[in-house]
Structure formats: structure tokens, C-alpha cells
Amino acid sequence: MSESGTDFLFGTSTGNGRVMVVDDEPDIRKVVRMTLQKAGYDVLEAEDGEKAIEVINTGENRLMLDVIICDIRMPKINGVEAIEYLRKEYPNVQLIVLTGFPDMDMASSFLRQGVVDYLVKPVAGEKLRDSVAKAMNQREIHRL
């Protein structure tokens, strides 16, 4: 399996788009990475909201990061807080929530904030890739 994108500073770019997955569980990040690398995306990882903010503020990620897939329940800075920050500071970066909580209220609140999708685990690989593709399209529109 290709390890491209593990280095968040100088990850080799495939040109298909750069995605960061934020989840406190390493195995979840591994599944997301496998799922998305299959579709040719570069995947970065962060274990909580604090680390995610650090990663996006590092080097070329400020410009090159297209989509963030974010969990909700995480230590330090949780998903709600992280998404609030990212919406404000990086309005062009597209956000997808990937969480274990099937919570309608939370889902509609995120979607109102402009989050692309609210996905509840377990989510099939195909569905996650569709969602990222949709987010990449919106990212293109924002770039224009």
C-alpha cells in the first residue's frame, strides 16, 4: 500500500486532492486512509481537534488541504469546536463529519453551518468516497 501523504509537511501529491482525517482512534484513521487512498487521494491524519488545527496551519497545507473528515467526540478540542474554528479560518476547506452518533439535531446544525455531509459510522467505503468526491467538487467551485 502506498504511504504517500503520511508526512503532513511534504506529502507527495497525487494531484487528486488532499484530505485530512481527524479521529482519536488510530484504527478508524487507518480505515479512512485505506478507503480514500484507493480513490487516489492524499490522506493526512490528526488525532484530535488541536492537532488538526496545527496540521492545517503548517506549511503548504494552508493552501493544499481540500477536505477535512472530522470526528465529534475527541479529547482536547472536540469536533464541534474544531469545525467552528475551521469554518471561520478556512471557509474554503470542505468539511465532512464522520461520527458514531446518530444524532439528527447535531446533524442538521452542522449541515446549516455548511458541512458537506454528516456521516454516521459504520459507513461503507463507496459512500465515504462519494461524499469526498462531492466535497472536492464544492472545493473546486470555491476556488473559481
Binding site: 482512534e25 484504527d27 478508524i28 480505515v31 479512512v32 485505506m34 478507503t35 484507493k38 465529534i72 467526540r73 479529547p75 482536547k76 472536540n78 469536533g79 464541534v80 461520527t99 458514531g100 452518533f101 446518530p102 444524532d103 454516521v120 459510522k121 459504520p122 459507513v123 461503507a124 467505503g125
Partner: protein, 344 residues
């Protein structure tokens, strides 16, 4: 409470009825239990009386000859007993036996059944507040199962396939642990026996369950356990009370703050404290929190029976509960139980 002489009571008969009466009367203010008599030294009432440091004997005459006795409760069912009591009781002692004792016995048993049902109903209602947390903790490993299985379908390398299958097995184990924990907790408590319980172990078990009460978990948890804290209690009831208090603490902090769980022993007393850095309880409300149906939660969110049940469970297990709180700073609940001697 006016300072009056306690009613001194002796119980004859250590069967189920005698045991229930013993448990009830030992909590009633104004009652002083003198002892229990039963010819069977292994009767549950005799064992219970020993736990409570009460006098036990197989000789009824010895017990009822006690001077200053006010009331003799006869639940032996023995037809020869009334005559024997009348012959040996001290002057002035009254007898509750026959139909009167049977009526009291039935009322106590009925009350005990109702209380059991009330505990269970409130426990099940409380589990509702864990639903989101449980769903979260099951959906995460489920996602691993799905993701790794999808990877296996497209994988050709046998070693990688084996590793992925191993990951799936681990994820399934996580899920089964969660479902086991909760079915154990939710089941109706069937044990009516008081056994030796390590308070620290129960506190830890309760914490694992109560954690599900918060969605955005961002708590620091401080645990300060000392000693073994062996007490005599009904384990399921004790767990229920502890889960209730820890859940309240977590909810009072809205998922953010410091939860402190501590135990210590001093002078034959085991103490548990559960403290939070949450919203606190105003002075005027501290009196009310243990009352049935008192709740500050939105309609449908709480039964108002949580702390009421906690208090009666703690009382039934011969403990005491107290609370201190400061608005905006937090709340601390303190439970105290008589310490059991270390088993030799």
C-alpha cells in the same frame, strides 16, 4: 426529632419475614433492635443480625427476658410460641404476633417488592441517557469491521488478509464487551443477599458505565482510591447507586470539568466521595434533592427518582449519604458505610 426513649424490639424468627423486618426496623429512627432469636443458627435473619452487630440466640426465653423490652415481634409461626412468650416476657412488653405480625410481615414484603420495582424502573429509565454514548462506542468498532472486511475483499496478500481479519476479531470483542456490561447492569437484581463487596471495584465498574452519559467527552478524571474498602452490601444495588451519582456528576459538568472519585477508610468507616466541578446546587434546593420526583431536568429527561433511590439504597446497605455544594463551583456527595473486617 423530639428526644424520646427508643422502642426496644426483639424479633423471634430469622426466616425471610424476620430478615425483612430486621432490615426495615434497623433503619427506622426511634427503634432499638435488641436481637434476633432462631433455633437455626444458619437462618438468614441470624446472619444478617450478626452483620449488624446485634445479639443473636437460639434461646427465645433468654432474649425475651431482657429487661426494658417494649415489643416482641413473633414471626416464627410456631403455635406454641404465644404461650411461651407470655410466660417469660418482662412486664410491660407488648407482643406482636399471629394475624398482627402476619399483616406487618405482608406489608413489609409488599413494600420491599415495590421498592425493587421502583429501583429497576428508574435504572432502566436512566439507561436511556446512555443510548447515544453506547451507540457511539458500538458504531466505532462496527466501522472497523466494515472497513477491514471491505479491504479483505480486494486484498490478495495472505499475510495482510490475516492481519485485517485479526483487527475484525478485536473490534467484535469490543462490541461484545459493551453489550455484556450493559445487559448485566440492566437486568433485574435477583440477589437479596448481603455479601462482602470491595467498594473500589464497584466504583470503577460504575464509572465505566456512567461514562456513556456524555457525548462530547472532555473530562479529566481524578481517582484517589486507598485500601480495599471491604463493606457488606448488595452488589447490584450499590452499583446502581454509584452509577447514578457519577452520571449526575458528569451531567452537571455538561461533559467538561474534573470528576474526582475517592475512597478512604477511617475508624471502621469506609468513605466514598464523588465530586464534580459542575454547576452546583443552590442552598435552598439541597434539602429537596433526595425527595421523590424532585428534578431540575427537562420533562421527559429525568424521573426525579434517582437520588431518592440512591438515598434509600445507601440506607438499606447501612450507609449514610451527605452532600455539599457551591453554585458555580461544584458538588460533592459523600457515602459512608461500616467497614467489614478483613476476611481472615
Amino acid at each position: 426529632m423530639p428526644n424520646v426513649e427508643p422502642t426496644r424490639v426483639a424479633i423471634l424468627g430469622g426466616g425471610k419475614g424476620g430478615t425483612l423486618l430486621l432490615d426495615l426496623l434497623s433503619q427506622v429512627p426511634g427503634v432499638e433492635l435488641i436481637g434476633v432469636a432462631d433455633t437455626n443458627p444458619a437462618a438468614p435473619g441470624i446472619r444478617r443480625a450478626l452483620d449488624l452487630n446485634l445479639r443473636v440466640t437460639d434461646n427465645v426465653v433468654d432474649l425475651i427476658a431482657e429487661q426494658g423490652l417494649n415489643l416482641i415481634v413473633d414471626v416464627t409461626g410456631d403455635p406454641a410460641m404465644p404461650a411461651l412468650i407470655n410466660q417469660h416476657k418482662p412486664p410491660g412488653a407488648e407482643i406482636l404476633g399471629g394475624a398482627g405480625a402476619k399483616l406487618v410481615w405482608n406489608m413489609v414484603q409488599h413494600e420491599s417488592t415495590l421498592q425493587g420495582q421502583l429501583f429497576q424502573a428508574e435504572k432502566l429509565a436512566g439507561i436511556g441517557s446512555f443510548a447515544a454514548g453506547i451507540a457511539h462506542d458500538i458504531n466505532n468498532p462496527l466501522y472497523l469491521v466494515l472497513g477491514f472486511a471491505e479491504a479483505i475483499i480486494e486484498e490478495h496478500d495472505p499475510t495482510t488478509i490475516r492481519d485485517l481479519a485479526q483487527e475484525i476479531i478485536q473490534a467484535v470483542r469490543r462490541i461484545s464487551t459493551i453489550s455484556r456490561e450493559f445487559t448485566q447492569y440492566a437486568r433485574q437484581s435477583i440477589s437479596s443477599e448481603y455479601v462482602d463487596v470491595e467498594l473500589n471495584v464497584k466504583l470503577e465498574e460504575a464509572f465505566k458505565i456512567a461514562q456513556y452519559a456524555t457525548v462530547l467527552q472532555d473530562l479529566s478524571v481524578v481517582k484517589d482510591y486507598t485500601g480495599k474498602q471491604l463493606i457488606k452490601a448488595k452488589p447490584d444495588e450499590l452499583l446502581h447507586a454509584l452509577v447514578n451519582l457519577i452520571t449526575n456528576a458528569i451531567q452537571a459538568m455538561d461533559g467538561k470539568g474534573t470528576l474526582t472519585l475517592a475512597t478512604c477508610d477511617e475508624d471502621e468507616v469506609a468513605t466514598v466521595t464523588i465530586s464534580d466541578t459542575g454547576c452546583g446546587i443552590p442552598d435552598g434546593r439541597l434539602e429537596q434533592i433526595f425527595e421523590p420526583f424532585f428534578t431540575t431536568k427537562a420533562p421527559g429527561k429525568g424521573t426525579g427518582l434517582g437520588l431518592y433511590n440512591v438515598k434509600s439504597i445507601v440506607g438499606k446497605n447501612h450507609g449514610k449519604i451527605s452532600v455539599t455544594s457551591e453554585v458555580g463551583k461544584g458538588t460533592m456527595f459523600r457515602l459512608q458505610f461500616p467497614l467489614e473486617g478483613q476476611p481472615s
